[in-house]
């Protein structure tokens, strides 16, 4: 163990440098572990969550009219190979003592279940009893309402105030999706589950239901159950059956890109730590040259010396990795919570740690060993002078090749049509950076001399003296800046593209979703104060058989007479109405996302389940839409009804009078229809919802990158300290011949600023290149976003990069100014 003891003592001799190396390993390991573990956990948890939340049931039986007879359910409820539950939903208003609450915030959807304790809904009881025939609410709702088991809730229905006791509180589930606060209740209604007869009684709907959900007892029986149900709906008029399908790819469309961005940010962490380790090892080995020489003269072989240094590296690496894993575990947790929150996923699933552990431990041990390779090689060399000479010759020969390889890397990124291009580009930048840095410092020279006189002149010379070290320091900051330029620009470009598309294809200022629309409703809406125009449309999720797989395709029934006024999609040429009018009975229009999912060509056909069985529809056009986050198909109203048999409509599009505020419009419409309204969504809600998700996702990536930028500030400080340490005498001599304190401080600050300026300018240039490259393929909902640069964002990032470089130069600069002349000038 003596070997380790010596290593430990050597490390403790240079506490500051050891600490910096250790920190960089900790950061590298933590960011790798955190990102991988969080992403792996999310990747595992999301599909499970979706399956649990949206489709616990396997099949749904619905009616072609708003309601159908409960007798249908009674006929099937004796079956043994599946469980089923009949449902009836009604909208009503909560009676609450909460103050300053608008009627919109009191909306409640009450769902009556023929059975509350069933695997079909899978309610997980936290308190109370599902069999107690009272109301069931989620823990989230209970918290906002402040309700306990045994409390009563009252509802203001059209048939008077109805009251029921709360008998169970269950874990939050999509079936009882509700807002997380009174404020969020402006956008989403509350949800309460009660026994079916309660709803039927309260709303005078005895013997009526609106859906039956079915779950097979065992997975193997799915096909048999489907056959039975098929048979069942054929022998019962007015009902049809659909399998419950989750479109995972559409539910979390941009998730993979987001995860990739997180990975890249994590990768920056590793690159950063490699750099700092290399730098500080390199210097400490240089520092200890005479020590090594002495050891050699007393008989140490080069191999033994290298072993000694390697032991030190390993020691730092092991401790750093262990600390990094601890920090990383915390980071993973935080990141997981954030990701789940942003995507609205509720899950208590355990963390997936294995891959993250393996990768980050490997990185934590291998990266330090690899980056110490070159410095350790130098330990073996004897003569100081030789080492210096060799070093120079090898470096220039090497970097020429590295430069060429770097250019190749950069060029290769032009041909990669995927965000992964960031990796070769970053590697390429790193390799060509010394050249760019030289070029930059050449330009900087004139500028510095002109503006900063003496300090600027000396600073630029010093930068050029250790150009390798300076450019290594600069490149890390530069990579961070390039990344953040890309990410922030993508963020705002995505937001703008989405906002534009949503407004263009929302079909008006408000979409009101009723339980079902009665004939006279449209006229009533049109006469509400603030309503300029209104139209109703049909929307139904239709089963789409795609390559033997079932998917859910939202299909819109569109009227040619109103579609131009209420555009639900945009077309590249001609009018929407002309397109709709031209559609034959077996023709359909796909939007860009479903078109991309399908992968076919215009003129080919897709297969949909209709009330007449499977039927093919010819795809005659592709249009753009962001309606309901953009995924769907369009048909003419008439064809829609003939094929899908849904005879009632639920949605109304409203165009408001110019001076009417969106919120007032909602209040006006709600006060007219009250409980019959299920949802009201405006384009602004979608913009803020989608915008929130996008911005939060980007913020996480940006936070990681910003962390990297700040740490690269530590890198700058480290490099400057090393420079100063090497030039103590020079600085002292300058002070001796009359260079002032301030001039020395200015000199060091300008050195750090030069590194930062080079990093910022070059980083921004590559950032813009990255934006350009991604704009050639990146799609916002299958729409490529336009290449554009926000100078505002660039300016903020530039200021940030420069601020980091100046701030991290302050400590070294004051240290340089404090050098004791009498000590430094003493001749040893």
């Amino acid at each position: 163990m003596k070997k380790w003891q010596i290593a430990w003592r050597n490390l403790m001799r240079r506490k500051m440098r050891t600490f910096l190396s250790m920190m960089s390993i900790v950061i590298g390991v933590a960011s790798t572990f955190g990102v991988i573990a969080a992403v792996n956990t999310a990747e595992k948890a999301f599909p499970i969550f979706l399956k649990e939340a949206i489709a616990k049931a396997d099949f749904n039986i619905a009616g072609t009219e708003a309601y159908f007879s409960e007798d249908n359910y009674k006929q099937m409820s004796s079956r043994k190979d599946y469980e089923s539950v009949a449902m009836l939903k009604q909208n009503t208003k909560l009676v609450t003592k909460e103050k300053d609450i608008s009627s919109i915030q009191k909306r409640v959807v009450i769902t009556g279940y023929s059975q509350l304790e069933t695997t079909v809904t899978g309610f997980k009881v936290m308190e109370g009893d599902l069999k107690a025939k009272g109301a069931v609410i989620t823990d989230r709702t209970a918290k906002v309402w402040g309700s306990k088991i045994g409390d009563t809730v009252s509802f203001n229905t059209d048939k008077g105030v109805k009251t029921i006791k709360i008998t169970a509180i269950v874990r939050y589930t999509k079936d009882l999706m509700g807002p997380s606060s009174w404020n969020m209740a402006k956008y989403h209604h509350w949800a309460v589950a009660v026994p079916l007869p309660t709803v039927q009684n309260w709303f005078d709907l005895n013997g009526k239901i609106q859906a039956i959900q079915v779950k097979a007892i065992s997975h193997n029986q799915l096909d048999a159950v489907e056959n039975e149900l098929d048979h069942f709906v054929k022998s019962n008029k007015g009902v049809y059956m659909q399998p419950m399908i989750i479109n995972f790819d559409t539910a979390f469309k941009d998730l993979n890109t987001f995860f990739l961005a997180l990975y890249i940010a994590g990768f920056l962490g590793i690159a950063l730590s490699a750099f700092i380790i290399f730098n500080s090892l390199y210097v400490s080995i240089k520092e200890r040259k005479s020590e090594f020489a002495v050891l050699k003269t007393i008989g140490y072989t080069p191999g033994q010396l290298q072993g000694m240094v390697l032991t030190e590296v390993l020691l730092v690496a092991i401790i750093g990795t262990i600390l990094g894993l601890t920090v990383g575990y915390g980071l993973a947790h935080g990141l997981k919570l954030l990701i789940f929150m942003v995507y609205g996923v509720q899950s208590n699933s355990s963390m997936v740690l294995a891959t993250g552990l393996i990768v980050s431990i490997l990185a934590g041990l291998l990266v330090p060993i690899l980056s110490s390779w070159y410095p350790i090689q130098k330990v073996g060399k004897t003569s100081v002078i030789e080492v210096l000479k060799d070093n120079k010759a090898i470096q220039s020969r090497h970097s020429k090749w590295l430069g060429i390889v770097g250019v190749l890397f950069i060029l290769s990124s032009f041909f990669i049509k995927h965000l992964i291009l960031v990796l070769p580009l970053l590697i390429g930048i790193t390799l060509v950076f010394p050249y760019l840095f030289k070029l930059f410092s050449f330009i900087l020279k004139a500028f510095y001399r002109l503006i900063f006189n003496f300090s600027g002149d000396v600073a630029i010379r010093n930068l050029n003296r250790n150009i390798g070290r300076a450019s290594m320091t600069s490149v890390i900051l530069s990579l961070g800046i390039a990344m953040i330029v890309l990410m922030s620009t993508l963020n705002s470009a995505l937001l703008q593209s989405y906002e534009k598309m949503i407004n263009q294809s929302y079909g008006g200022n408000l979409d009101v979703m009723f339980h079902h629309i009665e004939k006279e409703d449209l006229d009533i809406i049109k006469h509400i104060d603030g309503v300029k125009d209104a139209a109703t449309y049909s929307l139904q999720g239709i089963v789409w058989n795609l390559d033997g797989e079932k998917r859910m395709l939202p299909v819109y029934g569109v009227g040619a007479e109103w579609i131009d006024r209420f555009p639900l999609f945009s077309v590249s040429n001609g009018s929407q109405s002309a397109l709709i009018k031209s559609l034959k009975n077996d023709e359909i229009i796909l939007d860009q996302t479903s078109f991309a999912t399908w992968g076919g060509k215009i003129g080919e056909s897709i297969t949909l389940d209709t009330i007449h069985g499977e039927k093919t529809f010819k795809v005659v056009a592709m249009v753009n839409t962001m309606k309901n986050s953009g995924y769907g198909a369009f048909m003419s109203e008439k064809n829609f009804k003939e094929n899908f048999g849904v005879n009632y409509e639920r949605n109304t599009l409203v165009i408001k009078e110019a001076q009417m505020s969106p919120l007032q419009l909602r209040e006006n419409i709600y006060s007219k229809f009250g409980g019959r309204i299920e949802e009201m969504w405006g384009p602004e809600d979608w913009v803020s919802m989608i915008g929130g998700t996008i911005t939060a996702s980007f913020s996480m990536v940006n936070a990681l990158v910003i962390l990297g930028i700040i740490v690269s500030g530590i890198g700058i400080a480290n490099t400057l300290l090393i420079n100063i340490m090497e030039r103590v005498r020079e600085i002292a001599m300058m002070r001796a011949v009359g260079v002032t304190h301030r001039q020395i401080i200015g000199m060091i600050l300008l050195e750090g600023f030069g590194i930062g300026l080079a990093a910022t300018v070059i980083g921004i240039m590559f950032g813009i290149l990255l934006i350009y490259l991604t704009s050639t393929f990146m799609q916002v909902n299958s729409l490529t976003f336009e290449f554009g640069v926000s100078w505002m964002i660039i300016a903020i990032i530039a200021l940030f990069g420069l601020a980091v470089s100046i701030i991290s130069s302050i400590a070294p600069a004051t240290k340089a100014a404090k050098i004791k002349l009498s000590d430094a000038l003493r001749y040893e």
Binding site: F454, R461, M733, M734, R735, G738, V739, T740, L821, L825
Partner: protein, 238 residues
């Protein structure tokens, strides 16, 4: 020119205080060439640094050209060094990334002297130290003697009234040493610059008007040019 009275310098060490100079007093007249000799570790460099305002004495006063150095703040001492003193070091201390011309101009650039003025001064100094053809050479391309001449030229740039040289010939061979000493001597005679030079070399000490011997932080002997004492002192030190 220089008046040192009652000066002590104490270094605080982990092992206790170390007294490098004890109650030292000395005078240097304007235009005088003084050599300081003494064994290693006796406090010669410490004394020189105090004279040049590189450090402050623990007690006592140092007055140079009527300026009491112990009353100056950091900034004033810097300007004092810039304007009044030229330093010459044993290991030359030239900046490797600057040319000979730029090294010579160092304190002028720090003083923001106009470019053309700097140029004339540098040309004059180059011819004074006989390095006209080396203006754009880098220090690494010069011999030790040449480098020391550059250092002397640098020390002269601000027309100082005092040159402080700490073993200026310590790294040089016989021939180069003689050149440097001649140069210092000429500056002393012709330009009337006061020179205080620390040296181990008795021959070097011979060019001085007076030799001061320091031992254990105290001035123990003084001798005058040509006088028996001076030679005896120098011989004994050698």
């Amino acid at each position: 020119m220089i008046s040192v009275s009652n000066v002590s310098k104490v270094y605080a060490l982990a092992s206790g205080d170390f007294i490098a100079l004890k109650e030292t007093a000395m005078q240097v007249r304007k235009g005088e060439f003084v050599a300081i000799m003494g064994p290693s570790g006796s406090g010669k460099s410490t004394l020189l640094q105090l004279l040049g305002g590189l450090d402050q004495p623990t007690t006592g006063n140092i007055v140079v050209d009527g300026i009491d150095l112990t009353k100056l703040n950091e900034k004033e001492r810097t300007l004092f060094r810039r304007k009044k003193v030229g330093f010459v070091f044993q290991n030359y201390q030239l900046l490797p990334m600057m040319t000979v011309g730029e090294n010579i101009a160092l304190s002028l650039t720090a003083n923001n002297t106009p470019k053309n003025e700097i140029n004339t001064i540098v040309q004059k100094l180059l011819s004074e130290v006989n390095l006209q053809d080396k203006e754009s050479a880098f220090p690494s391309q010069l011999s030790g003697g040449q480098q020391q001449r550059v250092a002397i030229a640098r020390a002269l740039a601000m027309k100082p009234s005092l040159i402080l040289a700490d073993e200026p010939t310590g790294n040089l061979d016989q021939k180069n040493s003689e050149d440097i000493l001649k140069l210092l001597s000429r500056l002393n005679k012709e330009e009337k610059i006061t020179v205080v030079m620390v040296t181990h070399d008795q021959q070097a000490a011979q060019v001085a008007d007076r030799i001061i011997v320091v031992r254990d932080g105290m001035i123990v002997e003084e001798g005058h040019k040509g006088g028996y004492r001076n030679e005896k002192v120098a011989n004994r030190m050698a």
